[in-house]
Symmetry: C2
Subunit: 322 residues, 2 copies
Amino acid sequence: MTDTPDKQTTGTTAQNTGRDDRPMFNRVALVGLGLIGSSLAHVMRRENLAGHIAGATRSEATLKRAEELGLCDSYHLDAAEAVKDADLVFLNVPVGAMGTVAEHIAPALKKGAILTDVGSVKGAVIRDVSPHVPEGVHFIPGHPIAGTEQSGPDAGFAELFENRWCILVPLENTDDEALARLKRFWQAAGANVDTMTAEHHDLVLGITSHLPHLIAYNIVLTAADLEEVTESEVIKYSAGGFRDFTRLAASDPVMWRDVFLNNREAVLELLGRFMEDLHVLQRAIRWGEGDKLHELFKRSRRIRREIIEAGQDTPAPGFGRR
Amino acid sequence: MTDTPDKQTTGTTAQNTGRDDRPMFNRVALVGLGLIGSSLAHVMRRENLAGHIAGATRSEATLKRAEELGLCDSYHLDAAEAVKDADLVFLNVPVGAMGTVAEHIAPALKKGAILTDVGSVKGAVIRDVSPHVPEGVHFIPGHPIAGTEQSGPDAGFAELFENRWCILVPLENTDDEALARLKRFWQAAGANVDTMTAEHHDLVLGITSHLPHLIAYNIVLTAADLEEVTESEVIKYSAGGFRDFTRLAASDPVMWRDVFLNNREAVLELLGRFMEDLHVLQRAIRWGEGDKLHELFKRSRRIRREIIEAGQDTPAPGFGRR
């Protein structure tokens, strides 16, 4: 489906064709104004993707801050108000809140609108959101593989999606045209777009994102609980490697709680494999099997090189942070 | 011991007193010209710490490259030649090679010289090197907590030690004056200096460096071995968190093999605790204990902030690599 040639639509919604200055969508609603929501707002401004950006969050403080930053054109505590008349609606809330939000906004959704999300788990979001999607609304789950350890409306920036991948998960009855339009949106935001099933997404992200976060949280907790090494020592000498993990472990606790609760099976399966492999390393260390350790460590060096060649990380030593 | 006021020595070796342009040491030998050795060469040039830098490595290719880069003043395949007449000798070789190298250079060491190392394990280095140290030579084990995932003579740069910690491990009979001189050297190289026992060093580094590397190697191997997710998918979507681990897992395989073989007890003890903690998270996920996960994840956020406040990592999101 990703290879479907883009078609020019002739509907009432303006298209960003490069031939005029009409925005790609007339009205886009952002339900949730954290890192992803605010980054979407920034890139929509830069690329002229929305005639009107309607922002919604249930936190008054966040809404006020979004307004101070000028992220949107209208600001709403009630998400149902924001999505009214919107041609494109983004759900940017923790995975565990998707169902409730969808149920609340459903009656206000416009016929023909595209409803998408940016959640890190796709199976659970489809399970929770689908039952509420009205006839005539195109629900296309999505997930941009981009982020930082920061959260909130101040954390966003227009370049967040640049050269990152966005995975779209078309459902059985997904409209090709709606899918093509959402794909064009993400491409205009700088992303590469892939499609896959929800099940495969949840396994792929389980290993590339969920397990790494779990491990990072865990090692930080192990370090904090040691009695023989003080926390101040852990902090002082963190440049030996530990500090790398603390970045992921500084990610939003609510978002990540929801990820683990909602991608339970894939995470537990992958965690089982991780522990098996760790037992192999543990045994090799205990028995002094140097050749085995050396062979295993050599293998993992190549993957870093390939990630850099694929443009998914910087070649600069130490992430270039010197 | 770190609080001993610096004294001006009146010996034959020049001191970098700030009052003249004499180098801090007349002749410094670098045995091993990888990341740390070449960085030492760069910073010694910049700060005028050595009248003559003698570089040694048993690899002809590395020695040739060091010469092309102009890292040293003389180049030696035989480390015993390099250390002759040196006032300060650095052993910059993998931990498992320290004993052999020490035995080889011992007869060539000058009386009064300081012999130090930069190995990531201190107990094993003391065990392997001490028996070979001649009477009158000051052996002071050391470890700069600095590095990148790159290795070899091209990887070094003068700023590597800037605001990083260098741990010195004075032995029972360590001469105060020699310790003060080595401390001044590291401070001139940009580092902060701490002293502690070898046993404590090996535990502190076990949690802040060795365990993080082991975990990083392990998750990369787990990902590479999955059948349901291709390696190309792991690479494409690595920005979800996985890529952070690949940096540590790209570190020198020989160096790290030697670390694990030589800090076995501390690493196995810490690994046991890490797995215990991981089982707690595993169970919380299996039983859907959201409150517990949330509490644990909130705790680990604070440590990141403290590392940044201590100047041990950048506050920029994503390590500033956008």
